[in-house]
């Protein structure tokens, strides 16, 4: 390997981020009942416990399929060096064996949780991924250099926006709480017989950390519920965002690129999903499909992909008209190639900014659906906690104020943080919005109508409202633009 070619900064990043990512992934799988008080050796043992929880088998099958498909596509286009191809194939094989081990080769379990040595597979994968990035950097030193430079530039602009930094801070705080939950509170405090107080709705007390937010209707610790809820709420929000963004962006680019009857037909379907009132729709789906978090994720994705699709479509319609697309077509590039290599990179900033806002929508939607009793009855999320508050009549009990406030404030902070980050990313993407320019102190909201893409921004605000009900699209304004 010709390591001398890699930009030194990329090398440093690989060395720093690989362990960080490994730790984060390990924390996701960490056993639920090994608090810090159980001793250093026991806690460290948790990282390599062979019976720790693991990813559902179907996600691993999906990952295998995705790896193989990208690999075949890249090999057909002769894009990759043989070394990178073999690394990706090795990753695919590792994931495949992992998925098989998960299910014992025969049993198909949507949430296979009985596997062993997940940490080992995971470690191998993380190392392979690091090697992959390394060899990519070695094979394309110029592009790696550009990537490093671009990332630093983006971070420099983002850093200048104090609102974005606050949002990032809030999000990091709650992510840390979610990841470190096993160390903060033992999961055993959530079981129905683990009451901390004899009475229901005990007021908060600072002598015992379990009683920081008081106790609930069964005398269980609200603090314990609060901490463990963050896992479900954030995870569901994140997963729903990934699916929404991939489906929405795909549909948007596709309908934008094929403007003929295919695009028109796709647009009609998108329109139908835009006008479906999301909450009644979600309630119907939840009532029919059942109640667990995989289904909630699916429901959020089904009800919110159309908003992303509409915004991405508007942008790809204008990108498609640019000269370099025509040039690409003239020299005989295929449609798939043009969409992947020319349109996708140009709508990418918009997709990223929109994805951050989608996290807000998804967290909001999860809270709402759980509040209506459509969540997983066996797990806690902030929405489920609020459902308990409402169902048990705790709103009428003054000592239960903290029980009502804590989960709500958490949701508000996370949603607010996502909106702040979205605003900051918009500034990075669109130089017109930056503070240094003539428009001082402007945010996305402030300049929505002034920007050339006014109608589009309005549409986005409409989409953002989704959580509350106005997943509105602006037929009128879009026509004007």
């Amino acid at each position: 390997m010709n390591s001398g070619q890699i930009p030194p900064r990329l090398k440093r990043w690989i060395f720093i981020w690989t362990p960080v990512i490994w730790v984060v992934l390990e924390l996701v799988l960490y056993p639920r009942n090994r608090p810090l008080s159980s001793g250093f050796a026991n806690v460290m043992g948790g990282f390599v416990d062979k019976r720790i929880a693991s990813y559902p088998a179907w996600t691993l099958w999906l990952a295998t399929a995705a790896l193989v498909v990208t690999e075949v596509l890249e090999l057909r286009a002769h894009k990759k060096s043989a070394r990178m191809a073999s690394i990706v194939l090795a990753m695919a094989i590792v994931v495949f064996i992992w998925a098989c081990a998960q299910m014992g080769f025969t049993r198909f379990d949507l949430f296979g949780r009985g596997s062993s040595y997940s940490w080992l597979f995971q470690t191998v994968l993380v190392v392979l991924a690091a090697v992959l990035v390394w060899s990519w950097g070695a094979a394309n030193p110029e592009r790696a250099d550009l990537l490093v430079w671009n990332t630093r530039e983006i971070w420099r602009i983002f850093r200048a926006n104090w609102q974005g930094i606050i949002g990032l801070g809030i999000l990091l705080f709650f992510s840390a709480m979610a990841l470190l939950a096993p160390f903060l509170v033992n999961h055993a405090w959530l079981s129905p017989d683990a009451s901390v107080t004899r009475t229901a709705f005990a007021p908060p007390s600072f002598h015992n950390y379990l009683l920081w937010f008081g106790s609930d209707e069964q005398g269980l610790s609200v603090f314990a519920e609060f901490v463990w809820s963050s896992r479900i709420s954030l995870f569901v929000g994140l997963l729903a965002t990934v699916i929404t963004t991939v489906v929405g962006a795909g549909a948007g680019i596709f309908t934008g690129y094929y403007a003929g009857w295919i695009g028109e037909f796709g647009m009609r379907i998108t329109d139908v999903f835009l006008v479906l009132p999301w909450l009644p729709f979600a309630m119907v789906l939840a009532a029919a499909w059942g109640q667990n978090y995989a289904i909630i994720v699916l429901i959020i994705a089904v009800t919110s992909w159309a908003g992303t699709a509409r915004i991405v479509r508007a942008q790809s319609l204008s990108v498609k008209e640019l000269a370099f697309v025509e040039r690409a077509r003239a020299i005989g590039s295929s449609d798939v190639h043009i969409m992947r290599k020319h349109i996708l990179p140009n709508v990418m900033p918009l997709i990223v900014a929109n994805a951050v806002l989608t996290v807000a929508i998804a967290v909001f939607a999860e809270t709402t659906l759980s509040f209506l009793g459509l969540g997983d009855p066996l797990n806690f999320s902030w929405g489920t906690m609020l459902e308990h508050v409402f169902d048990t009549g705790a709103t009428e009990v003054p000592t239960a104020t903290a029980y009502l406030l804590a989960p709500g404030i958490a949701v508000v902070l996370v949603v607010l943080a996502c909106n702040l980050i979205g605003t900051a990313i918009d500034e990075v993407v669109d130089p017109k919005l930056r503070k240094r320019e003539e428009s001082r102190g402007e945010s996305r909201f402030t300049d929505a109508a002034a920007a050339p893409s006014g109608a589009l921004d309005l549409a986005r605000v409409g989409v953002e409202t989704g959580g509350r009900g106005g997943r509105g699209d602006d037929g009128g304004t879009a026509d004007l633009a």
Binding site: P398, N419, G472, G475, L480
Partner: protein
């Protein structure tokens, strides 16, 4: 664009979308797992006779494409079957719930619009002033709050702690009102909190839109002209800036009104307000599919209709469309 072509296009679009939504509604309730005849029956009533009867009502014994035909006829006739939770035709159950929802949502939207537009105008007029920064940040926070959570806090504070307002329902149970005025007063007393919650959460959104719209209008040349002519600040604001900036807000208000049911579900559930929202919540809990189907269709039609109205209003409000 010429008027007739614009209207025809918009109306055709709306009709087409309604047809697609109705078709989707048909599929939605027939691709659900399980036997549709069973889904349309309450739990524990799965007797063969009941199922056969249900199949006959919904033509489920016919092939799928024939069912599709019957579905259109039934929908056009308003035959959605019987609600099994309330043992009445669905049309009656839904019909009874429409007015309370319209009153609640209408009042809420009215307040939200007025508050949002006025605050937005002042915030946009003095950009980055104290009032602007305070109101915009407050708006962002309110905008991030779940409606039902605000509603619960209000109940805890205003009706439990202070006892100023009742915590739910449209009228008190077991009280007979002697005079019409007494009844109306009690109704308004009950209406206040839910409408306020509704107004607060939507006002934030309208304020943010109005503010951005004001800012963009203030950069226009005709504002400069007005100032050059020596028009006073107040007149520039209310005579030139505000009317021109109103357009996006009005459109948004109109379109949100279509999505009203989504918001109403949460507010009505918390306040036990007997409207469409509470009806859809209860029918979901009881798996009352006939009612769910009707409410879902109604809600989608409302969105499409409001979009159409917004488009038509646009034609009259914005001269650029006519050009």
């Amino acid at each position: 664009m010429d008027k007739r072509r614009y209207f025809t296009r918009k109306i055709l679009n709306a009709v087409l979308t309604i047809i697609l939504v109705a078709a989707f509604n048909f599929m939605l309730f027939r691709i659900l797992p399980g036997n549709p005849a069973r889904l349309l029956l309450p739990k524990g009533h799965y007797s063969t006779i009941a199922i056969a009867q249900q199949k006959k009502i919904f033509h489920l014994d016919k092939p799928l494409w024939e069912q599709f035909g019957y579905y259109w006829v039934d929908t056009a006739e308003g035959n959605f079957g019987n609600s099994y939770a309330q043992h009445e035709p669905v049309v009656q159950v839904v019909g009874r719930a429409i007015v309370p929802t319209l009153v609640l949502v209408g009042t809420g939207t009215l307040f939200a619009t007025v508050i949002g537009i006025v605050v937005g105008v002042f915030a946009g007029w003095r950009r980055n002033g104290t009032f602007d920064i305070a109101s915009t940040n407050l708006g962002m926070v309110l905008y991030s709050m779940p409606t039902f959570w605000v509603a619960m806090i209000f109940i805890l504070y205003f009706s439990v702690k202070l006892g100023w307002f009742p915590s739910g329902r449209m009228l008190d149970v077991g009280v007979t009102y002697t005079s019409f005025i007494g009844k109306a007063g009690a109704f308004l007393h009950h209406l206040f909190l839910p409408a306020l919650v509704f107004a607060i959460t939507y006002a934030a959104e309208y304020e943010l839109i109005m503010r951005s719209s004001i800012t963009s209008v203030m950069k226009e040349d005709f504002i400069l002209t007005a100032r050059a002519k020596g028009v006073s600040d107040t007149r520039v604001l209310w005579g030139h800036v505000a009317p021109n900036a109103m357009l996006p807000s009005i459109t948004l208000v109109m379109m949100n009104f279509g999505f009203v049911l989504s918001g109403a579900i949460l507010v009505e559930t918390v306040f036990n307000w007997p409207g469409l929202g509470l009806l859809s919540y209860n029918s979901m809990l009881e798996r009352d599919y006939p009612v769910m189907q009707a409410v879902f269709l109604l809600a989608s039609a409302a969105v499409i209709l409001c979009n159409l109205i917004a488009d038509i209003m646009y034609y009259y409000l914005d001269p650029r469309v006519k050009a």
